[in-house]
């Protein structure tokens, strides 16, 4: 599996005439080698892919246990740059690529200062674009993540009643997952009534609204299964709702469902994004500006990956991508609704909605 992934990268490196490619990004390293450190943002490990070797540089706090990798120990006396200098000479590397969308300005400067005989080439999105297309193991993990998330919400809705707070619901989601040795994809967004009108509402920092007799509850959450993420948004209604609310919900649902269908035949994310907004605003004449976020995004080792499904996207929709479709309607200071699924695009104009939790209008009555 890892061999195949590295081969994909090497093929691109050959095309670009690159002799070695330095990997700084935590997720890209995890994808290519299966190796990960405790934190994603402390540069505790680096990778280098050359024609014949895959080097992994890390310090003695970690054990590297993978036969594919040539492990190099980082010590206070022998840092990354000393190792690179040696390898560049041994392997006669002339053109060294690096992740221009991950490496920091001062990190590049330091490498430049020492590797004076090497041409340093900034490359962007190389591995993350490979990661767009999921392999079998990844799809299994994503399917499992979505399945776990579905089970979780089924249990969580049972505890929702007037008086339950946003943080309580978020906490129960997190607790349900972690108790079973899964993890959250991100801290759940649980937004009640007015708060649901803020698309990126921060449940931790917010006013911790309680469920009331006729509340609208937005829950945007995900489960992690073996480092892979799911992403779902569901609306939960409490007690009697106005005809307006019910109608808008059903229209939003129709737009979301139709857009998912669109993934079967439309390979342009820009067109899918436009399609969804059009269904929502023109056909149904919803008196709202459309949602101030993209229609969807890829999901994988990170919650936001390629392809982007937005009107500035330059990506292409292809089989074995896993993406979200998540249109919303937001009425400032009143309420907001969003419906989101995680979907696998398959061969032969097929799709598989991985998040299967029902989208029928869900009204809780107590």
């Amino acid at each position: 599996m890892f061999e195949k992934r590295v081969e994909k990268l090497r093929k691109i490196l050959v095309e670009k005439n690159i002799d070695g490619f330095l990997i700084s990004n935590f997720y890209n390293l995890l994808y290519l080698t299966g190796f990960k450190t405790l934190t994603a943002d402390e540069r505790e490990a680096w990778g280098l892919v050359t024609k014949n070797n895959i080097y992994l540089f890390t310090d003695s706090r970690y054990k590297v246990d993978n036969k594919l990798l040539t492990s190099k120990l980082i010590t206070p006396n022998e840092g990354l740059i000393k190792h690179l200098t040696k390898i560049v000479e041994e392997e006669k590397i002339k053109r060294l690529g690096f992740e221009g969308d991950d490496l920091k300005v001062n990190e590049l400067q330091r490498i430049k200062d020492f590797l004076t005989n090497v041409e340093l080439i900034s490359l962007e999105k190389l591995i993350i674009k490979i990661r767009e297309i999921k392999d079998e193991e990844e799809i299994n993990n994503l399917r499992n993540a979505c399945n776990v998330a579905d089970q979780c919400l089924k249990d969580i809705i049972k505890i929702i009643r007037p008086g339950t707070s946003e943080k309580e619901i978020a906490f129960k989601i997190e607790f349900w997952l972690k108790e079973k040795d899964y993890d959250i994809s991100f801290y759940p967004i649980v937004a009640i009534d007015k708060n649901s009108a803020v698309p990126h509402y921060d449940t931790r920092a917010g006013n911790n609204e309680n469920v009331k007799k006729n509340s609208i509850i937005l829950i945007d959450y995900g489960a992690k299964f073996k480092d892979y993420h799911s992403d779902t948004t569901r609306m939960i209604f409490v007690g009697k709702q106005s005809t307006e609310i019910v109608n808008i919900y059903n229209k939003l649902l129709e737009a979301q469902t139709k857009t998912i269908e669109q993934l079967k035949t439309d390979s342009s994310p820009v067109s899918v994004d436009q399609y969804c907004r059009k269904v929502l605003t023109t056909n149904y004449n919803l008196s709202t500006t459309t949602y101030p976020h993209s229609t969807g995004h890829g999901v994988g080792l990170q919650i936001h990956e390629f392809p982007k499904i937005s009107f500035t996207s330059t990506d292409v929709l292809l089989p074995n991508q896993v993406v979200t479709i998540e249109p919303g309607v937001y009425l400032n200071d009143k309420w907001g609704m969003r419906i989101e699924d995680t979907i696998l695009i398959k061969e032969n104009k097929q799709i598989e909605v991985l998040t299967k939790f029902s989208k029928q209008l869900l009204i809780i009555d107590h």
Copy 2:
């Protein structure tokens, strides 16, 4: 409070003849403005400090509610660079500084491509070095974080008995904190017996060892209080322990305690680091290489901040810094021990150990 912090930055900018300073780092922006986005690594907000203004750039998913800030909306048509171009002209900015230790190579390239009339200056560690010295509010938050962590461990040790697993203990710590609306500083390291010999043992990825009749348990954990972290490591012993283990624990404790005392008078982190290793290896003749990590580090909005207390440190120990002291002894494939406190360095050669959980040999008998 934020005004004072920004004033400290502006003073440095004047010294360096910088007209504007672009802030990309999530924690630095949070420190200076109190503003934070949902994720730390997705560039959802930027800051710019000029002589007269503090600009905040973010998109419509967020609400900016702070009179100190001049808020600029990022839209698909008007991104950061368009805003910068305008401001640079309006405020006649000639020398624009940026965070060279945070900005990515391709981000700088894009700014360079558009801001052609501005000199771009890479500055490192500017705000993180200001953050070394904690103000009163920060010290209160850190004290509270340490206090919460103390209370947590007191409850957690009650559930430890033969059969309890590493993940179970880690899980209980996390949920004790989250149930009370606090957070973990980092995923707890709970390492039993052999696993404790790995200084950066990953409890989530490990073999989930169970507590046995005569186990050694290392717990490295922390609580978050209003974005501020605590950091503690304690050893817990189960049942009868050999004289060797008891002796080494007491020696490690003496080295740790003496090193904390050293903070009262020694302002050199290099010397404090050496002192700790010397006490451990020479005075007590422990037949082990010393620990393969630093003796300590600053703690604040992030778990690892300045000053570093290691033999490569270039920092200075000063009043109102909050640091850890955490020597360890690791016997490969046998066991490891580490003792860690979070300590406030005060004026007049005073220190305050903020983590107060007892360090007396703690033996659980069932």
